[in-house]
Subunit: 346 residues, 3 copies
Amino acid sequence: MQRLSQHQRGLTLNELARRHDCVLRGDPGARVRRVAPLARADSRCIAFFLQRAYLDDLRATSAGAVILSERHAGECPVAALVTPDPYGVYARVADKLHALMPLSPGVHPHATVDPNAEVDPSCEVSAGARVAAGAVLERGVFVGANVTVGGNARIGEGSRLLANAAICESVRIGRRCIAHPSAVLGADGFGQAPGEDGSWFKIPQLGSVRVGDDVEIGASTVIDRGALEDTVIGDGVRLDNLIQVGHNAHIGEHTAIAAGCMIAGSARIGRRCRIAGHVGVAGHLEICDDVVLLARTVVTRSVREPGAYAGSMTPMEEVSSWRRNAARFRRLDELYRQVRRLERRK
Amino acid sequence: MQRLSQHQRGLTLNELARRHDCVLRGDPGARVRRVAPLARADSRCIAFFLQRAYLDDLRATSAGAVILSERHAGECPVAALVTPDPYGVYARVADKLHALMPLSPGVHPHATVDPNAEVDPSCEVSAGARVAAGAVLERGVFVGANVTVGGNARIGEGSRLLANAAICESVRIGRRCIAHPSAVLGADGFGQAPGEDGSWFKIPQLGSVRVGDDVEIGASTVIDRGALEDTVIGDGVRLDNLIQVGHNAHIGEHTAIAAGCMIAGSARIGRRCRIAGHVGVAGHLEICDDVVLLARTVVTRSVREPGAYAGSMTPMEEVSSWRRNAARFRRLDELYRQVRRLERRK
Amino acid sequence: MQRLSQHQRGLTLNELARRHDCVLRGDPGARVRRVAPLARADSRCIAFFLQRAYLDDLRATSAGAVILSERHAGECPVAALVTPDPYGVYARVADKLHALMPLSPGVHPHATVDPNAEVDPSCEVSAGARVAAGAVLERGVFVGANVTVGGNARIGEGSRLLANAAICESVRIGRRCIAHPSAVLGADGFGQAPGEDGSWFKIPQLGSVRVGDDVEIGASTVIDRGALEDTVIGDGVRLDNLIQVGHNAHIGEHTAIAAGCMIAGSARIGRRCRIAGHVGVAGHLEICDDVVLLARTVVTRSVREPGAYAGSMTPMEEVSSWRRNAARFRRLDELYRQVRRLERRK
């Protein structure tokens, strides 16, 4: 998303320290205008230090200031903002110095807004965007180039729909959400009734998608509309790119899901879960709050206890040895029974 | 896809029972106008019952009628349509009460139709759509907002291309198909000739994509065009979201594939297969008719017998025990040999 | 990509043999105009032979000429271009006979080019495309229908952006690159700072994406912009469809990656690697040059030695036996310990 390349006047270290509860070591009146990596920062930049791998960069930095923890503050050759949460403070400082580009309110002449759509005058609707009849864009919504907003969709205050995203009919998006390029919200769920001859009859998908506030939806991520009820994405959810969320799924508040996950229909995922890449979640099951799933896990039963779970990922190795081990997998049950027999015979 | 929120006049239970071979218990003249879940249905709604988990909802429902099987008909407090296939009947009733929005024939002034394209006057071409020279849209085709139809593509009667889909040049789509938002049909296959220095030379992809009748293609699903011959999708195939179909693949009639599957080039998949999420199919192999593949299976050899197959999915467990088991996987072959030795020594 | 269906005048076998260092057997003056499969080729076509599976087609071909290796030249009933690399020669001959459609320079009246964008007059900008302020399109760039090019992006000479692709602000693409339909370059990386209450604070993504020359990016593939530095794609890289490349990842020259791979943030992949489908690469690790990764491998540690690696893929089998084996996986560590005990006791 387009942001300012630097803060116009800069902010004083004093201001930053007070705003983010940091202990300041250095000149309170010094100003920084942008963030930069330790190795490339000059005196107008503020950097951050987190990982020991960058200790040499820290010692040699020319930054105006560095955000870091007490533990490494002694190694910092320049002004320091000391905090127990350098990453979180960095995120907020960067967001302040590099604010999102302000909107240019209005509807581009090459956009197509239906006369029966309701677009607040503070919105920016870009070239090639299409807003259909009955759609409502609340204050300060940004609709990017070639975005489509379907009939009766509602986009909450301050949300941003980026290039080529498709928001289908009747989808409701909360406030301050972001739909990244080519995201699709509200496509039909995959509901098919099997016939006796093996053919399929498409089941009308009559629900919609309801997205809470402060949700981020990654590029080319697809959230299907519900069959009868809605698919629901809770407040503060973070979805990475290329994720599938099936019809009638519920994703709880503040859950974060990494790229390539496939969440099947009617799955219910709790709050504050952290789901790594390529995870699969089967349909019609529940995952409770505060569950961590490692990459590539397949969830085929409900998870009722918070904790970290894994599966479906055997260690990488050279192809020759992997081939032998994988082949033995097919005899694992037999092997288990052999061991049992041997034990009994001793 | 946009559907009517209810049937204008409603349908009588008698009509529905006769049309769908149901036994009617209740007032034949009562009318229903829309479908609803058991718990939210009022007297103008028809609901369905399938899973015992919803038995309490059934017993308490205020629906005008319920579609269900003989076995549970006794539990239904309201009128009942009794059938051995409640799901199939529900699908058809829902489709009747909530028909697709009728088209508004014509080309939107903000669409771009090449003068050498052939668009039947019954088609609806939405704002931002582009139809290139030589393309043919048969009767009743819907082209959604910001869809692109390439040169010489042909879209069969009654097919619907939804927002931001891309149908590339020369692709042929049959009748009554649906391409969901951001689907891509006819992108170049991944054909690369390796050079001695490790570089690649792109192989022209000169085939196309041929899609049969009654096919549904999910959001952000990609079907590549063939290298020399065509990639072929049979009648009645159902593809979920975010699927890749490689060049020259063939998918047989009525096969259904769930989200996130990757079908490599020149794979031939039979008819009436059911393929679950995240499955991978290697190139240049065959899967016969009536094969079921469980989630996450990797198919690296041809499947010549109908049946259900699985692989590549070990059970989910807590990270600590998973770590131990996964580590042992690397010694599985060694373990197998140890057991053999022990057995011989007894 | 749209190519000529045949070469206007055709090329002589003599010309082709000389250009591609082949030994010609047959009439040097005979002309071929297009490529075709052995079984469908007529005397104006040139075909190629690679796999023994097609030996019958070779023996019965009516092609004007066949590209093949010395070993099978004796089986060819028509003129032959004999070469140690039939696939490579075929690729180049096909590219010559079926050249890309030449551009129709100019900006379509339904495209939207900002007055502050710089578009070379040799470029073709299609209907529905949007080129934002500060963007630069070098000589001979093709911008397809409904493509969006963000502010200050730069597209190198001869590159082609196909339908509905989204190139975000400040992304730099080299020369002769192809972005296939719905590709997304420069979406925000997935950077989220965790709060104590489980909520997330979005970390501004201030880097960009830098793509080298001769790169091909598949349909619906997403390359995220860097957090502070750039995400970098080296010269000659080939990315298939539906791939995710996380922020700050580096992909070395001539590496090819198949569909459905998820490359996490800050991963560094070397040159000339070949990565099969559905592979996952964790963040902050390095893969050296010349590494081959089999399908479905998960890379969770750095790979420092060239070679072929696999993991995470157990063999496909019938569901009933798979279920038993998968269940035993959970006891694999226990089994290992039992065997150790048994061995000690002998």
